[in-house]
């Protein structure tokens, strides 16, 4: 275990990722800041379209055109102890490629389409190992078997030559996890890895990820809609809305004492499901990305909206007692103004 005072593994500061579309500039991620400590689990939550996936892709250097990281910093601590700003290196550069799959692994939502349908799982797992660890064919094969066994894939050695379509959804996701973790990265980004799976499989995969996290000593950025999962696994939570962080902080604080009206709304939905079984979403709809409301992004749906303030002036992301931060005018009066990104330490 590293000392908790060590510099964080990943420090995202004021990240901005925009898409130039014919309809206009879509600011999918517009000033996102959060930190991930070594071996920590950070959950990113928020409704559909809030920019969770684009944040994850930005870190991984996987933003597709017409999208581009246009600003901010993503300081990532490499295993040799040096730090690189991922936002400053071109996504298709050798430097970034050496990080992808080696220092940071990623798993995706849909395990079927995330795997090539016409290549064996062995071939797909082995290539990363050969690339990053310089293993020969045979050694890479052994390592792939190891990786598959680690993720609880039954009959790994005999089934290296199977194709994804011959496997169940749960097994496919295990293959993806084995692939992402084969080179033992220090950070795993998981973008809704269980959403496409049935409930039992979801629980198994989640359990597996937590076990592997302990074994490999890695940090996880976990994107999910499921606040139940957040309660189970998160050390820290980042709540996103319309490309911005609304609230961030330790999981206990966010789930136990939510400060932002949006976080409260999300939690109320969960409480309702557990209460009378009805899903009560936050009233209103997420504004179109090209029609962002002036002032606070949540002002069109917020029950506590203060006319004249919320709908004209954008609130800043401010630190509230140490590690928590909130972007809401309700919390701005009398609180110290802290520059973004300088909180976790």
């Amino acid at each position: 275990m590293r000392a908790p005072t060590a510099a964080p593994l990943l420090e995202v500061d004021n990240l901005r990722t925009h898409f130039t579309t014919p309809g206009g500039l879509v600011k999918s991620v517009d000033g996102v800041s959060f930190t991930v400590g070594h071996q920590e689990t950070v959950c990113i939550v928020g409704e559909s379209g809030s920019g969770k996936s684009i944040t994850a892709r930005s870190i991984m250097g996987l933003v597709r055109r017409p999208g581009r990281v246009v600003g901010g910093r993503m300081n990532f601590r490499l295993r040799d102890g040096s730090t690189v700003d991922l936002a400053a290196i071109p996504p298709d550069s050798a430097t970034y490629r050496a990080i992808r799959g080696r220092e940071i692994g990623m798993i995706f939502q849909e395990p079927m389409s995330a795997l090539s349908p016409v290549h064996t799982i062995g071939s797909q797992i082995e290539e990363g190992i050969r690339l990053h660890l310089g293993f020969g064919a045979r050694a890479a094969r052994e390592r792939a078997v190891d990786a598959l066994e680690k993720v609880g894939f039954p009959g790994a050695r005999q089934r290296l030559n199977t194709y994804p379509f011959q496997l169940s959804g749960g097994l496919r996701q295990r293959v993806c996890i084995a692939m992402a973790l084969a080179c033992e990265p220090s950070l795993l980004i998981a973008d809704e890895p269980t959403t496409a799976l049935d409930v039992t499989t979801q629980a198994n995969i989640l359990e597996l990820l937590l076990r592997l996290q302990g074994e490999l000593g890695m940090a996880i950025v976990f994107i999910t809609h499921d606040l139940g999962v957040v309660a189970e696994i998160a050390d820290r939570v980042v709540v996103m809305y319309l490309g911005q962080v609304m609230e961030a902080g330790p999981a206990s604080g966010i789930l136990g004492h939510p400060r932002h009206p949006y976080t409260r709304g999300l939690l109320r939905c969960v409480a309702d499901i557990e209460g009378d079984g009805l899903l009560r979403a936050i009233p209103g709809i997420v504004p179109h990305p090209l029609a962002r409301p002036p002032g606070c992004p949540f002002s069109t749906r917020c029950e506590e909206m203060m006319p004249g303030l919320c709908d004209t002036t954008a609130p800043e992301l401010l630190a509230i007692n140490g590690e928590s931060r909130v972007r809401c005018h309700l919390w701005s009066s009398g609180q110290p103004h802290v520059t973004e990104g300088a909180v976790h330490g």
Partner: protein
Amino acid sequence: MFAFIIRRTALMVPTMLIISAIVFVVIQLPPGDFLDTLASQLASQGEGLADSQIALLRERYGLDQSILVQYLKWITNIVTALDFGQSFEWNKAVLDVIAPRFWVTLGIALLSLALTAVVAIPCGIYVSLRQYSLGDNLATFFSFLGLAVPNVLMTLVLMYASFTLFDSNPGGLFSAQYQDAPWSVGRVLDLLAHLWIPAVVLATAGTAEVVRVMRATMLDELSKPYVDTARAKGLTEARLTMKYPARIAINPIVSKLGWMIPIIVSSEAVVSIVADIPTMGPLLLRSLLAQDMYLAGAIILLLAFLTVIGTLISDILLALLDPRIRHAME
């Protein structure tokens, strides 16, 4: 896989039988027969043919029997003895008339197919990676050009270019010094020097089509999540493009292969006539005009056979390339 090939090959037999019956009926369709054509030809030259002579010939060729009997005779001879009957016009066995031309035709077809693949597949991959770039637009432009310019014109232009630039007369199959020479490297090169023009002309339409399909499929495949997965592993763009999307985008092209050979063969007539190359196309044209039915029938049958074989090869290749298809068969 093996069982699949056997099954598909066995299926070819009834297919070919049905096609052969249709072919036979169709070549019988025009009113009159070869002897009528011959009689009227002779009559126009002032040499009448006695009705009794015509009747005699008709009997000899079995033209007086019912169509079913004629068909059975015809197909039995083909299957048992590879005897396609007699060409009335050439007064030779059909097989002897066709055989040399068949090889030339097949050679041109395969050559143009290879050209198509070698040019169009890399081109399609390239333009999909550089969407809307200058190269993409150029490729689209040349595709349209290739489709729009008539084959005759393109043949003439290429022949003229070859004649003026390389000072070689590309007409015919061989240059004079190789015409009757035994086979040698020089003779093969000379043959290629004569075949490249029809091969290139016939490849243009196919190339335009393959570039278009390849580009569209590549764009589709490039947007798939497995490409992100490959990037997330840290592979280079070049390597992951070739291993994943390009590899998958080849499949629809391969499944088109089977159809391309017969299309090339059936569109080569005009090119061959212009370039004066003895292929099957002009022969088919002439045999149809002359109602030389056994010759025409044999050529059409061969074309059908090529189509069926081509489709079979396509299906086998596709099964080899795509494990999903392979497993669905088992």
